[in-house]
């Protein structure tokens, strides 16, 4: 039996903390357990987010330990990128909850984030976690700049899609008056989801742009061309363009809120192909992201 590596223990611990956070979040949502921020602050109402923070911290430690063992920044394959996305999602979610009190009243946000993170962690654990030597094209300081920025932007885009999905679901299930109007409470909830989505895209879109630009600079040094129309590059550009459309329509207030959420859902579909589809197809110059 192969003994567990330090970093594998770290991932297991993160998985457990994520599970606990998800369970507590579910209780807050389904059973209406006390939530932080209702009247006076209820500190144990913060527990789901606290466990999420511990899980994110644990994943961060995994990167530190793994990078130390590898001798290079350990973000090179599918296993490590899945951990990075889970870490990014949890880190940003904790940050948003800390920043905005309104989110505490909507534990479904946390539940969905943790469900997704749990899925990614579980998937990562089914992949080969061995530390492999780097191939020459990956031996570059650009890897430690380009890849984390892209991963963080992906994490933010996943979070934005959660907000958009919840908006559409809330709108569909809301009770309407005979005139087809929704209650003020429902409208407030919709505004919260819409703000969540925009807050995420507001950072994801610039980060994705900067990440792609830095990747182009790296490609110019490694492959001799800053743009190859490689499937990963073309899909990243597609993701950028779709969210670019959302960004402009949202800022210029040229589209209805519902249309905006659907654009985010379309962006999610494109993002899924960009991240998982192209990686699993193992095609093009970015095929080292496969496993």
């Amino acid at each position: 039996m192969v003994p567990l590596q330090q970093y594998e223990v770290g991932v297991w611990t993160a998985l457990i903390f994520t599970g606990i956070s998800l369970l507590l979040g579910l209780l807050q949502w389904v059973k209406n357990f006390p939530r932080h921020g209702e009247g006076k602050p209820i500190y144990w109402g913060k527990l789901p987010v606290a466990f999420m923070a511990v899980s994110a911290g644990q994943l961060l430690m995994v990167y530190i330990v793994r990078s130390n063992l590898a001798g290079f920044f350990a973000l090179t394959n599918m296993y490590e990128s899945l951990l990075a996305v889970a870490l990014g999602m949890q880190g940003v979610c904790v940050f948003l909850f800390t920043l905005e009190k309104r989110y505490w009243q909507h534990p479904i946000l946390l539940v969905l984030v943790q469900s997704m993170a749990l899925g990614y962690l579980y998937w990562a654990m089914s992949l080969n976690s061995a530390i492999e030597p780097l191939q020459p094209s990956l031996v570059s300081y650009w890897r430690a700049i380009h890849v984390p920025i892209i991963m963080l932007s992906y994490s933010l885009l996943f979070l934005s899609a959660i907000g958009a999905g919840l908006y559409l679901w809330q709108l569909k299930t809301a009770k309407k008056t005979e005139a087809g109007l929704i209650s003020e409470t429902t409208q407030t909830t919709l505004d919260v989801y819409d703000n969540w989505t925009f807050a995420c895209v507001q950072w994801a879109f610039p980060l994705l742009t900067i990440g792609i630009a830095l990747g182009a600079v790296w490609a110019n040094e490694a492959w001799g061309t800053y743009w190859n129309w490689d499937p990963k590059e073309a899909m990243a550009l597609a993701t950028l363009l779709i969210f670019g459309a959302y960004w402009h329509l949202r800022l210029q207030e040229r589209a209805s809120k519902v249309a905006l959420q659907w654009i985010v859902i379309l962006g999610l579909a494109v993002l899924l192909i960009t991240y998982f589809g192209i990686n699993l197809m193992g095609v093009g110059l970015h095929s080292y992201g496969r496993f």
């Binding site: 492999e132 031996v139 610039p206 499937p231 597609a238 363009l241």
Partner: protein, 452 residues
């Protein structure tokens, strides 16, 4: 604006299509030709399999370039005015706001006092236009950098697209495989592509010659089959005199630049097999590597007394991989136990023939000649790279600036005959509206709390 949005989404979906369909890939095209059946010729004619160079995709790109350029210039001027010029709104204008407006009755009778309270609570500095002593118009904005940010971003995008357009008529890209000590002109390269066909290409190929001085592959000490780095040393030669103009090294992620041309480590190729010289004469090739592929060993009967078995193997010396052959000999039939794993009679021993040094073995002189490995060098002449990097810098700075919320607040302070002041406020914020409204609610409380 609407056209730009439509183009953004259309280009995005076209990119998805181009990523999922095989592009200029012969093997996959064969498969897809079978799957598409009768529809294949139509799909091919529509450029589905050469999508990124198809006329309709290039047309979309051109349209996008035109739309972004013209659109940017269209709104740059009013946006610039918005920042540099102070605009005041009258009360009817403020009333025309559908939301983001409020009216506050104030008890104080002093307009300056009301203004000072408003400024303190909001953290803004207002410009004031005095219509009359009892009627003031107010205007303020905060975070002008956030308004400039999108301008910088759009300037970056226009520069980026313009640079790509220039590159489309001047760039060249080539690849050449060459063994150490050999020379070549860029015009003689095995692959040489200009960015556009000849009549439309305005670039120039350099006249100097390239000589490959050396090529090495370095392996990971702890993983001997994994390549850590490929390195090529080369010299640029004056074609007239043959003297070096420059020399340097290139490896993956570390290109070599000379005279506007960049060289990249792209590939390598073994151009000859393994050789064994026997007794120095004749210097014949006993076998080539190709013969060994897929076989554990190759047997060569040299004479009625001597048979040689050859096994390819690799060994690391000082972190550098050396290709070698291990030679096992059978003299007068004394050699036993062949199979996948060879065991030899101890007394027959073995000999490892390495490098160029001849080795004496059982009365024979054996000499191993290592295979020749040529380096694959990619070269590129691109005039627009600096402009593209500048565009990336503008994009980065512009996006960071865009994160700063730009807030505008307009107001009217009006006193009636009874000296009761009415404050009317309207505001606009593209980002962080709740934060501005939080400040405004504090301002309302402060104004309402004023004593008469």
């Amino acid at each position: 604006m609407e056209l730009a949005i439509v183009l953004l989404i259309t280009l995005g979906l076209a990119c998805v299509m181009g990523s999922l369909l095989p592009q200029e890939n012969v093997v996959a095209l064969d498969r897809i030709q079978y799957q598409f059946g009768d529809f294949y010729p139509y799909a091919k004619a529509m450029g589905w399999f050469t999508l990124f160079s198809s006329p309709w995709f290039i047309g979309l790109e051109a349209l996008f370039f035109a739309s972004v350029s013209l659109g940017s210039f269209h709104w740059l001027k009013p946006a610039y005015k918005q920042i540099t010029q102070t605009v005041f709104l009258s009360k009817p204008n403020i009333e025309a706001f559908t939301k983001h407006k409020l009216n506050i009755p104030i008890k104080t009778q002093s307009l300056p006092h009301a203004l000072a309270t408003l400024e303190q609570a909001l953290g803004f500095r207002f410009h004031v236009r005095e219509i009359s002593p009892s009627h003031w118009l107010l205007s303020a904005q905060k975070g002008w950098l956030g308004r400039v940010g999108p301008m910088v971003v759009h300037t970056g995008i226009v520069l980026l697209l313009a640079a790509c357009l220039v590159g489309a008529f001047t760039d060249f890209l080539g690849q050449h495989v060459e063994a150490p000590s050999q020379k070549f002109f860029l015009s003689e390269a095995a692959v040489l592509n200009t960015s556009t066909p000849s009549p439309w290409w305005f670039g120039k190929l350099p006249a100097w010659q390239v000589r490959i001085d050396d090529f090495t592959m370095r392996f990971y000490p702890k993983a001997p089959t994994k390549v850590e780095q490929y390195e090529t040393k080369l010299s640029i030669l004056d074609p007239a005199t043959g003297k070096p103009l420059a020399s340097g090294a290139l490896s993956v992620n570390h290109p070599f630049h000379y005279d506007g041309v960049s060289f990249y480590q792209a590939s390598y190729q073994q151009t000859s097999g393994h050789f064994i010289k026997l007794n120095n004469t004749p210097p014949e090739k006993l076998m080539a590597t190709e013969t060994l592929v897929g076989r554990p060993y190759v047997k060569k009967k040299v004479s009625s007394h001597l048979t040689l078995w050859f096994f390819p193997l690799s060994r690391l010396t000082d972190g550098v991989q050396r290709n070698q052959l291990q030679v096992f000999a059978q003299v007068n039939g004394v050699l036993k136990g062949f199979g996948q794993k060879v065991s030899l009679a101890q007394k027959e021993s073995t000999s490892l023939i390495e490098g160029d040094a001849p080795t004496q073995f059982k009365g024979f002189t054996l000499q191993y000649v290592k295979p020749e490995i040529a380096t694959g060098v990619q070269f590129k002449g691109a005039t627009e790279v600096e402009a593209i990097y500048l565009a990336f810098i503008l994009l980065t700075i512009g996006f960071l600036m865009s994160q700063i919320p730009h807030w505008q607040v307009w107001g009217v302070l009006e006193a009636d005959e009874k000296n009761h002041i009415q404050a009317s406020l309207a505001w606009r914020a593209k980002k962080q509206l709740p934060a501005l409204e939080k400040r405004l609610s504090q301002a309302v409380k402060a104004l309402e709390g004023l004593e008469s």
